[in-house]
């Protein structure tokens, strides 16, 4: 008897008990479906996050006040000491950090922009003129403000892509139009290209202005020394291979500037894109282990279900087995027949599970168009191989029992 014959017989036997076959497959269907769906959604999220941070530029270091490893701001033990323009100048111009090509400063807050009676809450970024260059972010209309604008504290503003769309719903040319930011008139000089939603809010629902203008007219928060505060310093590193060296150099410089004693903890943080991605990687890694556990448990339960039903099936079909043996079936023929039945149950369940998971992933991608859930070939193959393995493992004992039946007793079985 060849294998195709065995598959044909197995399919016929399963088709004879459709409801029972489906119920038996349910464990595998749910397990594989959940894993495929969550795996592809997880992968979509991972890709989305990676893309977001990759957009920041791989050679970028963020310097932020406070030690992030202490936990969320309210639980921090170290006092938050602000960053200032002095730090920016020290990083970029002192020669202490040769790896850094340039450093940009940003102060972030929220503000209200308004035009023709229409207003909108946006993230306001007050920056140095080299901000676009350091962050690798271009304008679609106009240009970023210049050093002259910065020095003269000009009231010029650039809008994020979404903010532009909302304030200029008819797509009017925005250059030299006047808008209000927190009731102050600003002249629009450009529109930034779209970056999409990113960490820390929608970067497109934003407005950009010179740091000097902002500090002078809008937000007057100062340190005890009378200097203006910064939210974050971006340091662009010359060579992406020297990120660690640059990070080390900035750390030393900052510790010195802030008078932190030997062995005392940093009261600032330096983060690279890789740090952020690796944090997400850790989260996704934990998620993957969790998914693996779900998959293992559901496949185990599904496998036990298959074994149970195969044992029932062998008992029910004792006479059939006896007859098959009487007309010449060898042990291996009977073993193969029942083994293939178990494997078919598991693999058909796996295939239905894959389709189900695929459907769910597709549904989620369609519902949230921010990311695409991609069902990987590897996930599909792994699911199929595991289903098959479960069928083999849990099918072998019932099949062995069937193959060992004595035809005399089996034929007499009532």
């Amino acid at each position: 008897m060849n294998i195709f014959e065995a598959i044909r017989i197995a399919m016929r036997a399963l088709a004879a008990n459709k409801l029972r076959s489906i119920l038996t497959m349910l464990g595998i269907i749910i397990g594989v479906g959940a894993v495929i769906a969550l795996m592809s959604i997880g992968r979509g999220v991972e890709k989305y996050v990676t893309d977001q941070f990759a957009g920041l530029g791989s050679n970028l270091l963020f310097v932020a006040p406070g030690n992030l490893s202490d936990g969320p701001p309210r639980l921090r033990q170290t006092a938050v000491k602000a960053l200032t323009m002095g730090d920016v100048v020290a990083i970029s111009e002192s020669g202490r950090v040769p790896e850094v090509r340039s450093a940009a400063a940003e102060y972030q807050t929220f503000g209200t922009v308004a035009r023709n009676g229409k207003d909108l809450t946006v993230q306001v970024s007050a920056t140095t003129p080299n901000y676009t260059e350091v962050r690798n972010w271009n304008t679609t209309i106009g240009n970023y403000f210049t050093q002259a604008d910065f020095d003269e504290r000009q009231r010029v503003i650039l809008l994020g892509a979404d903010a532009y769309k909302e304030l200029f719903p008819n797509g009017e040319y925005p250059i030299d139009q006047t808008i209000q930011l927190n009731d102050l008139n600003f002249r629009v000089i450009g529109v930034m290209e779209s970056k999409g939603g990113g960490p820390g809010g929608n970067l497109d629902k934003s407005a950009f202005l010179p740091l000097t203008t902002g500090q002078d007219r809008l937000f007057k928060k100062k340190t005890v020394n009378g200097q203006y505060e910064l939210s974050v310093i971006y340091a662009s590193v010359e060579n992406a291979d020297h990120m660690d060296a640059a990070q080390q150099q900035i750390t030393e410089l900052m510790r010195e500037r802030r008078g932190i004693k030997y062995l005392a903890q940093d009261d600032f943080s330096i983060i690279s894109q890789n740090d952020i991605i690796s944090v997400f990687g850790d989260i996704l890694g934990a998620l993957t282990i969790f998914l693996g556990a779900i998959a293992a448990i559901s496949l185990l339960v599904g496998g036990i279900g298959i074994m149970n039903i195969m044992l029932v099936s062998v008992t029910e079909r004792t006479r059939e087995i006896g007859l098959r043996k009487a007309v010449g079936a060898k042990r291996a023929d009977v073993l193969l027949q029942f083994l293939i039945e178990a494997v078919t149950l598991a693999v058909v369940g796996g295939v239905i599970g894959i389709l189900l998971g695929w459907g769910m992933a597709f549904g989620v991608s369609t519902a949230f168009d921010a990311f695409d859930a991609v069902v990987g070939v590897d996930a599909v193959l792994t699911s199929l191989i595991f289903s098959m393995a479960v069928g083999l493992f849990f099918g072998i004992y019932p099949a062995y029992r069937a193959s060992r039946l004595n035809p005399i007793d089996a034929l007499r079985y009532e």
């Binding site: 008897m1 016929r12 010449g328």
Partner: protein, 272 residues
């Protein structure tokens, strides 16, 4: 030689020499067969009879290669099978023996054709060849018009005919029929017995009945009675029922006229 119609072949289909079968039941040894000697010759039609507990079923299992004797030599067509392992016995059953059971033992939800094909599946015969031979076989038992019926769509007699067709398909050395009419009414029983007689007459197929039904004995020309694990009597006399009394005419007729199995069957039907 199994196909031979003459009883004078030198090699018997079944040759049992001092066959003993001992079962261990708990602490007690049960001697089911206690030295059986028996030869069954090609084209014989024989009934093995005996009350329950006589060892009749055990003898059938041994003859049918479903079990091996504890002691003694069993040869089928001269081939010693008395010490064979399970899988080798399965191969012998597949090639040499056609089984017919009291309760038909057809696969449910499976067409007559597929049921008849079953032994060929294990003999490794290709699909098209299987189908061709199954159709032939069903024609032989007069079910050529019921190929695609399932067992639950057939009468008891028809089901038993399907089982006989299945037994015939491997062109076995013998058909071993275990109470083949036990589940059938009298009229159908006679039809089935006459079918066996025709197959025996026209095709020289050796048929071994295992039965406790005395009426079955009337259809055969040799009756072996077994009691307490030994052969009590082995008796040959002309059959008194069915179509055996026309044997000579039929032989002549089928030899002269039957070019095809269907024609032979037609002749047989007319003469019956």
């Amino acid at each position: 030689m199994a196909e031979s119609k003459n009883g004078d072949d030198s090699v018997p289909v079944v040759s049992l020499r001092d066959i003993k079968k001992i079962y261990q039941m708990g602490d007690v040894e049960v001697q089911a067969l206690n030295g059986v000697d028996l030869d069954i010759w090609p084209a014989e039609m024989i009934a093995i009879m005996g009350p329950s507990g006589s060892g009749k079923s055990t003898l059938m299992n041994v003859i049918g290669c479903l079990d091996v004797p504890t002691h003694g030599i069993y040869e089928i067509d001269g081939q010693n099978v008395s010490r064979m392992k399970d899988d080798d016995l399965a191969a012998i059953r597949c090639r040499k023996i056609g089984f017919v059971f009291q309760n038909f033992n057809l696969l449910a939800r499976t067409t007559a054709l597929a049921n008849v094909e079953l032994p060929l599946v294990y003999a490794g015969v290709s699909g098209s060849e299987r189908r061709k031979r199954a159709v032939e076989s069903l024609n032989m038992v007069g079910l050529g018009d019921r190929l695609h019926h399932k067992p639950n769509e057939l009468s008891g007699g028809q089901q038993q005919r399907v089982a006989i067709a299945r037994a015939l398909i491997n062109r076995p050395s013998m058909i071993l029929a275990d109470e083949p009419t036990g589940n059938l009414d009298t009229k159908t029983s006679i039809e089935i017995m006459e079918l066996f007689q025709r197959l025996n007459l026209e095709r020289g197929i050796t048929v071994v009945f295992v039965t406790h039904n005395p009426e079955t004995a009337d259809f055969v020309e040799r009756v072996v009675r077994i009691r307490d694990g030994v052969i009590e009597s082995d008796q040959r006399r002309p059959a008194t029922a069915g179509i055996h009394h026309t044997r000579h005419e039929l032989e002549v007729a089928s030899h002269a006229l039957a070019a095809t199995p269907a024609e032979a069957e037609m002749i047989a039907r007319v003469t019956a």
